[in-house]
């Protein structure tokens, strides 16, 4: 554990959830790193879709934005954004959607809109973006979110995207096509919904992390699964691959961009 950061471990744990034939709708940040790590290790044929319209992209360095040129250059094709959301996501062609958020509740509902009242928020967050429909349509959703009592909360200020609503089958009754959040990857390990109540419970810990640490970071009384798995630390290959990806990315993003000042 000393050898790697919690972010690295979260990324590796998320990458391991992905299979070789999965079609993933990728968000920026940790999910992008996880998806590309999976592609560069055990899942070379994984299909990555970014909401900017790039399908089957294979970036050598990670994008800072959701639409860097690298994504277009390495994509099988680039389509207008409305098609990504209607012909691919809404059509049920996405296996895995990755979501982050500012807040998550015990049923995996997410807030990325506001803290405080909508009309006069104390903190205005970026907003929902693709999340409401990713949460609705992807066959499975994986959430990546660093743990704290401010982020794992008893009650959301605003529901930007739906998890299991109030649990106990409420989501299925609502008519959502996708399966909802199957895993929440966080600093200490992983939560997953209880099969009946659909409340997020602790199912796995990173090696070296403890139940007490997990409970201390969660804003509701965290339930434990019948069996708590231990997530093996990143292998040397995983870590080397991830760090090389990050190093390439840092180098690329630090490379000065020539300001396009021409003889115009």
């Amino acid at each position: 554990m000393s050898a790697c950061t919690r972010d690295e471990w979260m990324t590796v744990a998320a990458a391991r959830l992905l299979k070789n034939r999965d079609v993933c709708f990728v968000g920026i940040g940790l999910p992008s790193a996880a998806c590309n790590l999976a592609r560069l290790t055990h899942a070379p044929q994984i299909v990555l879709i970014y909401e900017s319209g790039t399908i089957g992209t294979r970036p050598d360095v990670m994008p800072l934005s959701i639409g860097d040129g690298e994504l277009a250059q390495t994509a099988a094709c680039v389509v207008p954004l409305p098609e990504i959301f209607s012909y691919y996501l809404q059509a049920g062609r996405v296996d895995i959607g990755f979501l982050g958020a500012a807040q998550i509740d015990r049923h995996g509902n997410l807030n990325s809109t506001v803290i405080g009242p909508y009309e006069r928020p104390s903190t205005r967050l970026p907003g929902a973006g693709g999340a409401p429909e990713i949460a609705q349509h992807a066959r499975q959703v994986f959430v990546m979110l660093r743990a704290s009592k401010r982020s794992f909360v008893e009650r959301l200020a605003f529901r930007s995207s739906a998890g299991y609503l109030d649990g106990h089958g409420a989501r299925a009754r609502s008519g959502a096509a996708g399966g909802g959040p199957r895993a929440v990857i966080t600093d200490f390990g992983m939560l997953a919904p209880h099969p009946e109540s659909e409340e997020l419970q602790l199912v796995a810990l990173f090696e070296g992390a403890t139940v007490e640490e997990a409970r201390a970071a969660i804003g509701w009384p965290l339930q434990l699964a019948d069996r708590i798995d231990t997530i093996a630390p990143p292998s040397a290959h995983e870590l080397d691959t991830l760090r090389a990806l990050h190093a390439r990315t840092r180098e690329a993003h630090a490379r000065p961009v020539r300001i396009p000042l021409q003889n115009g």
Partner: protein, 283 residues
């Protein structure tokens, strides 16, 4: 056939106070030069429309140009907040900002409906979210065959859409390559379409199934090299990710923001001067 004219003239002629204006481009080809020119010409009471407001709307909002914002994700991609947007919403500085907030899928459906001149777009979306409770522009419609209830959004038809593209020919046909976002739909949904381009050429490269906006849907073309910087133009220059990171610091503080805008936008006569005012190879 569209008119080719200087950017300042295009903004002067086609953007009026109070207009609804969409500067589209998803990360790629964001029309920064046009946005700066709107700020230089001190337009007010604009209804700004854009899926991802990005830095250019942070600047327009911070300079007091906007009355209302239609959007679906308002952050600095990969960096964090748009501090000027936040300040307007949280503290009404420099003025209050009305929000018309959607999801990406909802806003894409609204642009598509606008391009097709339908009054509304349909999607399976917004299910069990709090957005419809805060936006009367998100309603429901029943399928006349199955009875299923779906989400509906009103068409977006901006008074003016502004895009940046790689190339136009002298007739005003515009060719776009790379990530498109909702540019084509925003273009076809607009009453007036202005396009700034990196190059004006005698003949566009062969297109066949590529993206071309034909000259008779384009109102005006302005030649504006580097017009998407610090966003990018595929094949011409890369996104200046370092600038996007720096913006977080610049925009965090009202006075630093205003000083930067005065020095680099208001005090520069055009986009060429804006680019020249930046620290070369350091921005």
């Amino acid at each position: 056939m569209s008119v080719i004219l200087p950017l300042a003239d295009a903004i002067e002629r086609f953007i009026t106070d109070g207009a609804s204006v969409a500067l589209e481009g998803f990360t790629h080809l964001i029309p920064f030069a046009a946005g700066h020119e709107i700020i230089r010409q001190r337009r007010r009471e604009l209804h700004l429309i854009r899926m991802t407001p990005d830095l250019i709307y942070d600047q327009l909002i911070g300079m007091g140009c906007a009355r209302k914002l239609t959007f679906s994700w308002g952050g600095n991609p990969g960096v964090g907040s748009l501090h000027r947007l936040r300040d307007a919403v949280e503290n009404h500085w420099p003025r209050a900002l009305e929000l018309d907030e959607h999801s990406h899928a909802g806003m894409a459906a609204a642009f598509c409906a606008g391009a097709a001149r339908l009054p509304f777009g349909v999607l399976r979306g917004y299910l069990d979210t709090d957005l419809p409770a805060h936006n009367p522009n998100i309603r429901r419609v029943a399928c006349p065959f199955t009875g299923e209830v779906l989400a509906a959004v009103p068409a977006l038809n901006p008074d003016v859409t502004i895009l940046h593209a790689q190339r136009a020919d002298r007739a005003g046909n515009v060719a776009i390559e790379g990530i498109l976002g909702a540019t084509r739909e925003a273009a076809l949904a607009a009453t007036t379409l202005i396009v700034t381009v990196e190059e004006i050429v005698d003949a566009l490269p062969p297109a066949m199934n590529g993206i071309v906006l034909p000259h008779w849907v384009v109102t005006a073309v302005a030649h504006c090299p580097g017009g998407a910087y610090p966003s990018y133009a595929q094949g011409h220059y890369a996104r200046d990710n370092a600038f996007y990171k720096q913006w977080d610091e610049i925009a965090r503080d009202r006075s630093r923001f205003l000083a930067w805008m005065h020095r680099h936008v208001l005090a520069t006569g055009d986009h060429r001067a804006f680019l020249a005012s930046l620290p070369q190879e350091a921005a």
